[in-house]
Symmetry: D2
Subunit: 362 residues, 4 copies
Amino acid sequence: MALMREAKVHRIATQGPDDVSGLAAAIASGAISPAGILAILGKTEGNGCVNDFTRAFSVQSLKIELARHLPTAAVEEIAYVMSGGTEGALSPHILVLERTAGHPVHDRPSLAIGRALTPALPPEDLGRLAQVQMAAEGVRAAIRDAGIDDLGDVHFVQIKCPLLTSERIQRAEAEGYSTATRDTLKSMGLSRAASALGVAVALGELSLPDIDEAQIGRDMSLWSSRASTSAGVELENHEIVVLGMSRSWSGPLAVDHAVMADAIDVAPVKAAMDRLALGGEAASLVALLAKAEPGTSGRLRGSRHTMLDDSDISATRHARAFVGGVLAGLVGTAEIFVSGGAEHQGPDGGGPVAIIARRNGG
Amino acid sequence: MALMREAKVHRIATQGPDDVSGLAAAIASGAISPAGILAILGKTEGNGCVNDFTRAFSVQSLKIELARHLPTAAVEEIAYVMSGGTEGALSPHILVLERTAGHPVHDRPSLAIGRALTPALPPEDLGRLAQVQMAAEGVRAAIRDAGIDDLGDVHFVQIKCPLLTSERIQRAEAEGYSTATRDTLKSMGLSRAASALGVAVALGELSLPDIDEAQIGRDMSLWSSRASTSAGVELENHEIVVLGMSRSWSGPLAVDHAVMADAIDVAPVKAAMDRLALGGEAASLVALLAKAEPGTSGRLRGSRHTMLDDSDISATRHARAFVGGVLAGLVGTAEIFVSGGAEHQGPDGGGPVAIIARRNGG
Amino acid sequence: MALMREAKVHRIATQGPDDVSGLAAAIASGAISPAGILAILGKTEGNGCVNDFTRAFSVQSLKIELARHLPTAAVEEIAYVMSGGTEGALSPHILVLERTAGHPVHDRPSLAIGRALTPALPPEDLGRLAQVQMAAEGVRAAIRDAGIDDLGDVHFVQIKCPLLTSERIQRAEAEGYSTATRDTLKSMGLSRAASALGVAVALGELSLPDIDEAQIGRDMSLWSSRASTSAGVELENHEIVVLGMSRSWSGPLAVDHAVMADAIDVAPVKAAMDRLALGGEAASLVALLAKAEPGTSGRLRGSRHTMLDDSDISATRHARAFVGGVLAGLVGTAEIFVSGGAEHQGPDGGGPVAIIARRNGG
Amino acid sequence: MALMREAKVHRIATQGPDDVSGLAAAIASGAISPAGILAILGKTEGNGCVNDFTRAFSVQSLKIELARHLPTAAVEEIAYVMSGGTEGALSPHILVLERTAGHPVHDRPSLAIGRALTPALPPEDLGRLAQVQMAAEGVRAAIRDAGIDDLGDVHFVQIKCPLLTSERIQRAEAEGYSTATRDTLKSMGLSRAASALGVAVALGELSLPDIDEAQIGRDMSLWSSRASTSAGVELENHEIVVLGMSRSWSGPLAVDHAVMADAIDVAPVKAAMDRLALGGEAASLVALLAKAEPGTSGRLRGSRHTMLDDSDISATRHARAFVGGVLAGLVGTAEIFVSGGAEHQGPDGGGPVAIIARRNGG
């Protein structure tokens, strides 16, 4: 019989990108056992765009704190996924995902967390079908790691993927390859796009032969309902975290997801909340994770929006603020994880939403 | 017996601050009769702050168009209330308020519109109790003009109020007076604040003797549930438009209001929507008008927001985007009038919301 | 013998995009004769990017004023070239270029102004060699109109060029053509680029056969030393204004130009100032017109700049502020015309500078 | 006889706020001896305003690197003065100030560096005459530490001063005091202002009895020609670094200063450069440190600037970009230290400039 496990999700408010006092207190009190930390997701208060240094500042600060409790190798093994941009009333916080030994008590599925790392991605494969395939294999491994048997029980797949740097482009070119782009900023979008399509393939939403390489990052009619991807300069492979439901996990936490068809498509989110019994006494919200992007049509239900034409504020900032309002109005708190850069992550102008709830009483 | 009247509200999308093609088409088709226009409210796509020229550009463009149909004096008599800032997916549009001859058909109250102008405000009175009193008297006149008998039937009071310019300050000082401030930007906030308190006094929410002059613009525990005020350089008096319900008006339109206690306080808005029978076949949304401001505590239900510390994006822009999302998620369209600068207009961090609906069928 | 002419250049400060009081006063005093106005260039205080409505607001306001003095057709014939963005201490102003009857007094060349319009550019030609050729022919016509015999006497060529709109793209596609881009924003850059290369061809700096279509907007090693181009939605052809020196013109004004190799390359500007005898009693500055762009290398004389990575402030805004400081430090006023969008207008990271001076005494 | 000393100033480019590779390399090569570091000044690429986290990120990164070479106490003893905002082409870099044993070779004055710390400032004294006095005493101590005999030989005084936090305000109020302001942001300006006036008093530019407490932070006609102050949350006292010339120091470095009367007042800077023999073979630029602020009149030599009315870009960012251009045009590099927040540091709209040069040959 498989070892019973329990997933814990700690939502901790932060007073700044370098504020680790909440994490330190949770460790000191025993609420968090550092050795069990699989991943830390965080919303930081930068612009979420190119020159957002709050993400790296937060990661450096978290590592300094964790190094007080863990060996360096263990500190480095944790997946750090920082999303910049707390527009509107969105509130800076971190989500600490922990895997502990569970108790085989309840005869019901509970939140399951799986992790996987892929091999290093050759720079010339970035943004191409080879990356889609590598990501898909990694997602499958993470699903296995989580002990989830049914793909329908997977509700959220977070991938941190690599990007191209000048050095990596030169390395590929020195070996006679050409890269998908020579623009390092664009490589971030392509890597997010290929990774998201990898999720779709792993979850059976798309099949690899049906994807044309030219569609990666371009044809937004292809998308996964459960992918959330972000690119980072500090890795050359993929770090994958899967959230789902499994009977081999115990504990009060549960996860479900919804897909918003556009920025104000609240009905699917309400339905997911109902499935999780949120809104009454039976359950309480632990975390909400969503992707937001301005629709490329420049319209929302026929009405023109001005996000794409604003040269003062980046369109992704507008989208996070607005969708943050839509979702905070539903769940009653603005301490939610709304991030941008949603290529192939939900439909154009919409996006996937994952909700983690704590089931009370039972 | 009083003449029966009917109010019309035309919501017209715009493609830019100078786009009057929708207005021109509505006049050409006979849908709008220029002579009946009382006021035009508009959301324009500037920053909504000091250097937002889209408001004046829109007014200039509207006047050029209206001058094709009306004598200059009539063009100038219309109240133009432009609110800059279509953050998030908020959609640029104008609301044309028209007063026409009605038919004494229905035995029910309908949307009523009243207007009033105050005398010119001496510069030395701006931001002081004298302005509160003048605004209150103007609001009372507008309520009478609307034929509204019960103050509880008033649901929205829009005031356009003056501000101080260097010239006006000098004029006051030349006569031996001092003004409430010598900072022209601050004078906008003080004028909005005093005007909003004037609404509160006229509606019986506050009484004049209870207001200390030092509270104007400072003590946000004083507020009106139905005030919306904006300051403009082009006038020296107050232009007041009142929306409410009256049995001396006919037609399918109705108005109601709600007060949000904070930025995600959706229950009162849902209740107002229910009272108007929105959400089903019985009625459809015509317009929503709301005020949004970042709470001065820096927190929303205990969670820190970063709006007040953001030196890249003005806090009012954050607030409009976020509250725009909250409200658009409720009513299913982002073509709504969400404006900032909400001193004494609803509670700190919250704000008043007015909803105009068209009752179908009967 | 050719009719003697005199060019006048009026630099008028503005208090806002719609401030035409200075122009009106100059007309009222007789300083400006409206019928002689060939072009009005202006710096307005918008962001100089996509959603900058101050340019159109300024043009609408100027036309309202000029319509008081000229028939509509004459008002429309004037070239209005508004450049948004008065970053740093750059000061909003307009430059009114006027052509009057001159007196054959001085045996020396003086400032000459020429104008030309090209035919409408088919949308499918935009950003391609056909546009380069059309612009070149238009520049030649404007040089002839100015009565300038030697290409070396041409010091500044301003072109206002068209851009692609969705409607124009559809028109081209309906006729079986494809356009150079389907991105309307990119079409602005391509049109500026092709127009600037047209100037280079007309001035003999490049020859048409040497330009490969793929270089347009991409290969910044090709450039003109005297081109300044801007794209506008309101025209489908090219409006061209040439400034140079000619013996068939009289009057105290003279023009010269310099090319900055990078953003702090002041020596060529100082040399041009010396040639114009600026800095002493002999001459005084009338106007300075310059192009500024961040160097695409991300470096200035080896030092990294951060303009291209800033997601809060557009790189063109940084460049205008900085180069504005460099040039204002040289000429002693910030009421100078520094504009961005400098594809093929001077070398990468540098740009052309034209200076108009009034020769005193003689 | 006093021990001969030598000051070294290392200007090191950075690739990001956390880039310490240049510092590490200089230490590895022996160019910098960590034990001699007195202060590190840096320009980082944040917005230089409230939510600029690049400053703290840089300091955290520098401390991590220095902790590899120095005991913790020594790392903390170094003064870290980070200035955010590399607008225009300003280039991120650090200036490492080092004090080493010198050789009594040359019979001429050389760059001298002095340091001093004041006692902790009681919160209730911040922004008041008591702070002016405390800062003045600290500056005198730093001048003595530098071995500078003549106040005219002091060319630059950098003070890092405290600010008020909610906790400090409460502490003062608990003891029955009131603070100069309860607004923490405003306390930064007041602290910079009082510190700058302290420099003026120490240098004999002003005398303490002549300063009225109400003038602190308000009356910009009072200023020091050599003060540069910045407020930081991490200290409660004043860290003071003085740069000047002294015969008890040896080595090739020299410092001089100028005061710009407005943003384009280049003559005094040129004169200082001439005094340092910059511009030819005799000397080369090591570092330039300047303060920039938009003039509060809204005008520069009579021409309106728009910095103070721009709600999209902070006025201090405009000023740094523009003055950065002015100064970079003079010295031929944009790797210069231009910072904002210049209360009482140079005249309104102008500012002090210090230049460090390396004398070649001799």
